[in-house]
Symmetry: C2
Subunit: 493 residues, 2 copies
């Protein structure tokens, strides 16, 4: 057996344990009674330890060295590159630091769950200090290995190839036009009236509506399911994708669009190439590219007028309320494109969302690079929220810098993925519409031409190329914020 | 760390992988879409290989030798005995035989799924021949290690401590009185009329009824769930027990009593001692003792008059049919104690069931011991069915010797567990009623005194004692078929 084949078999073995881990995680969120938590945590920790052990086995270095001398096809070279990348990610940070981070992160996140509602910055700061310190240590070690700045090294975990230099360029461009665009959109919407849903929307009816919507989006129910959990997510494995949502019986709007979003993640997973199943090269390219699929489904398809027209019919059917003006096309479209300046990122609309992300990016970049200290964050937050959305968070930590879970356990470098995803999605659409009648396809109810483009250009490509190459092959250029701007202007002006 | 402690840590590690395996198995039956099967099978096979590797690690032999010299409490000695038993079970049969059995068993079982409906004995016989041959090889190896007959060595896998000698005594006793008892019961029932359920019993209502019944039986929903699957079973782990059932919307009778049965299995699991969680000594004692719990719940509690009175109320409520004579106490009791001679074991009633088991026992015993050949089985089946239930299966293989899945993949030695379980359950009741007002407790709706007895005597004892000791400690004597006979006579005469 060649070294390349040995590596392939080894990574497929790892994927089987990851399969178990992924399904146990889904089950913990979707099914598990509270009393099962202790045994489940132990089982999942054991699987993590085992996967880490397999991912860092001493002989791997030699196999990689020798495999690089073997005669490999282009695809095999990509496969080798991605296996090696996972190996480097697994071995780069020393065990004791990983463990210290895990303990500090769990402690900080656990306390945060009660500190946030109590607006207790002082209590939070004491735990978070350690998380920041350890993340800086991690960033330093990674940056030395990669020859990059500390924050670039953290970005590399989630968005390989993306750098501070490129993000600074993209985001500073956005900052030149976004605030004015938000004001104009708000002005325009000032005059319009919206009828908001009222009454009861049973979970059973909402689920049936979700399933109908997923069928329209060609979710493959032979390779996946829809369930419920407190925090919606897309989990499972490519041949059995488990998406979840949360239903509010007073309002169907969030859950419905949430299902559209998760279906985007799901179809990416379902569309990954079978030939590379279980191998790193067969996995999704990055967090940002994953988000580009969920956001293509949500923003480019889901909130488009022809799709809202389908949702109008499907939801009126589901709730047996054909006369209710809430479900009228025009009204639903207004609901799904309403702009509002708010404190909370997860509640933000498409237009104000990038403002939330960019300020987090600027703060975490400077924090990890040692330009600012963690105690500077509340004041910076207040300043940036005022500048971008005109809202002060002075003394309001719970709706300010304490609102997200990401930083509590040291996931620095993740936030940019959200806006990168939105930008990629707008750029795909700009290219796609040169060859596909997108609105026509949506109107007809047969969206296959859209999905074929995504499948050909994104899903089937998995991690065969770097992100830049993937985007260039799909759209003819690397990421260009102009498409995102144009999309937003078209929709909101 | 002592060798005993090392072994303890090692078996707890194994239990975490078994946790994953068990939950993946439950998910495959209860949730998984068909397209997920391929990846799931690979993941579960990988976990099996890993557990087998951990269970047969070379250093274990030395640890066991040394641990036996260490100063251990009585409970630790029991724990060591059970770990060692699992180790011996894992190492006794050579790898290549295990693999050959797995391949031959899968092939035979897979073909059987279409051969049975086609009544194709000739086709089946060709595959089964190999399964029997390999099982005999396994039995020979086990018997040499244990110093027993080949069939006793197979029994030991499922019912450690149970021997052909004891089963021959028990079952030959049953054979002296069962046929006459069946005839008398049939005579008695000849004159009675039963109203069978008709109409539609929605899955949702049946599930709600099942949940109410489980609450009456004090199933702990903080440590378990009820779901659906094609073949009902009890899975999961002790702190998170997953039971399943199958609903027939034309008839609620089977599913309801099936839930009572699985709840018995579940409460045994939920009642296992936390102090030994993850260790062999903390597991259920044997298949027969497990069945003694499900059958105590089904036969001793579930089909008793006072419990049927609860079921009468609960089901009339669930289906909103208080006037329907189907749900009248007397009628439901008749339904749940109806005796009928039939071909199929899984459809058999409490009274005829032992006849099905005993003939299987006699055939598999002689087959494994080399007294008969696999080609003798159809004729023997016909002969024994005629003798015990007066039914001929000549040429009727699908409802004869091809009806069960057990033999298709070589699970010889399992069948006796069913009737051992029924006998243990009757014996518990005989002892329990000396100190507990069983009918009174059921009538009152607070069954705690019954569950306290089971918990004290069976659940909390896990595998601390051998089966014989467990039964002797609980009832003052080893297994005695007289209690079973008395129970059946009281109910059916």
């Amino acid at each position: 057996m060649s070294n390349y084949d040995q590596l392939t078999a080894h990574y497929q073995t790892i994927s089987h344990f990851n399969h178990a881990q992924s399904m146990l995680g889904w089950d913990a969120a979707a099914n598990m009674p509270a009393g099962g938590n202790d045994a489940r945590s132990k089982a999942m920790a054991e699987l993590s330890v085992h996967v880490h052990r397999l991912s860092t086995q001493p002989q791997l270095g030699e196999w990689f060295d020798k495999a690089q001398q073997e005669l490999l096809s282009t695809e095999q070279q990509s496969s080798l590159r991605e296996m090696k990348r996972q190996w480097q990610q697994a071995t780069i940070v020393p065990e004791d630091l990983v463990q210290a981070q895990s303990i500090a992160g769990s402690k900080c996140e656990h306390a945060w769950r009660s500190q946030r509602p109590a607006n207790d910055w002082e209590g939070f700061e004491k735990n978070w200090k350690e998380v920041v310190k350890l993340s800086r240590e991690e960033a330093k070690i990674r940056s030395e290995a990669l020859g990059s700045t500390p924050y670039d090294a953290m970005l590399d975990k989630f968005e390989p190839g993306t750098t501070t230099a490129s993000l600074d360029t993209l985001f500073s461009d956005v900052k030149t036009w976004l605030p004015e665009l938000i004001e104009k959109a708000l002005d325009k919407q000032n005059s319009q009236s919206i009828i908001m849903p009222s009454g009861t929307f049973s979970t059973a009816n909402q689920k049936a509506l979700g399933v109908e919507t997923m069928k329209l989006l060609k979710f493959d129910f032979d390779h996946g399911r829809l369930d419920q959990s407190v925090h919606p997510f897309c989990g499972g494995v490519p041949s059995d994708v488990r998406i979840t949502t949360r239903y509010d019986e007073k309002d169907f709007v969030q859950a419905l669009m949430g299902i559209v979003h998760e279906t985007g993640h799901a179809r990416y997973e379902q569309g990954l190439p079978k030939a590379f199943a279980g191998l790193p090269v067969g996995e999704a390219r990055s967090m940002g590219v994953h988000e580009s699929q969920s956001l293509f489904f949500e923003m480019q398809i889901g909130r488009s007028k022809p799709f809202i027209s389908h949702l109008s019919q499907l939801s009126a059917n589901a709730f047996n309320a054909h006369q209710d003006p809430v479900f009228a096309e025009e009204n639903l479209y207004k609901i799904y494109t309403q702009v509002e300046k708010g404190f909370i990122r997860v509640d933000a609309d498409e237009l104000t969302y990038p403002a939330h992300v960019i300020m987090r990016y600027e703060i975490e970049r400077d924090l990890i690079n040692g330009v600012i200290e963690h105690t500077d964050v509340p004041a910076l937050w207040d300043e940036k929220m005022k500048a971008s959305l005109g809202l002060s968070t002075k003394g309001n930590y719970q709706n300010g810098c304490m609102q997200d879970i990401h930083w509590t356990d040291g996931a620095f470098g993740y936030f940019p993925s959200y806006t990168l995803g939105a930008m990629y999605a707008a750029q795909y659409k700009a290219t796609m519409q040169q060859t596909v009648d997108i609105d026509g396809a949506i109107k007809s109810g047969d969206l296959s031409p859209i999905f074929k483009w995504l499948s050909d250009n994104i899903w089937s490509q998995a991690s065969l190329h770097t992100t830049d190459d993937l985007i260039k092959r799909a759209t003819g250029e690397t990421l260009n914020a102009a498409h995102f701007r144009k999309h937003l202007e078209t929709r909101y002006l």
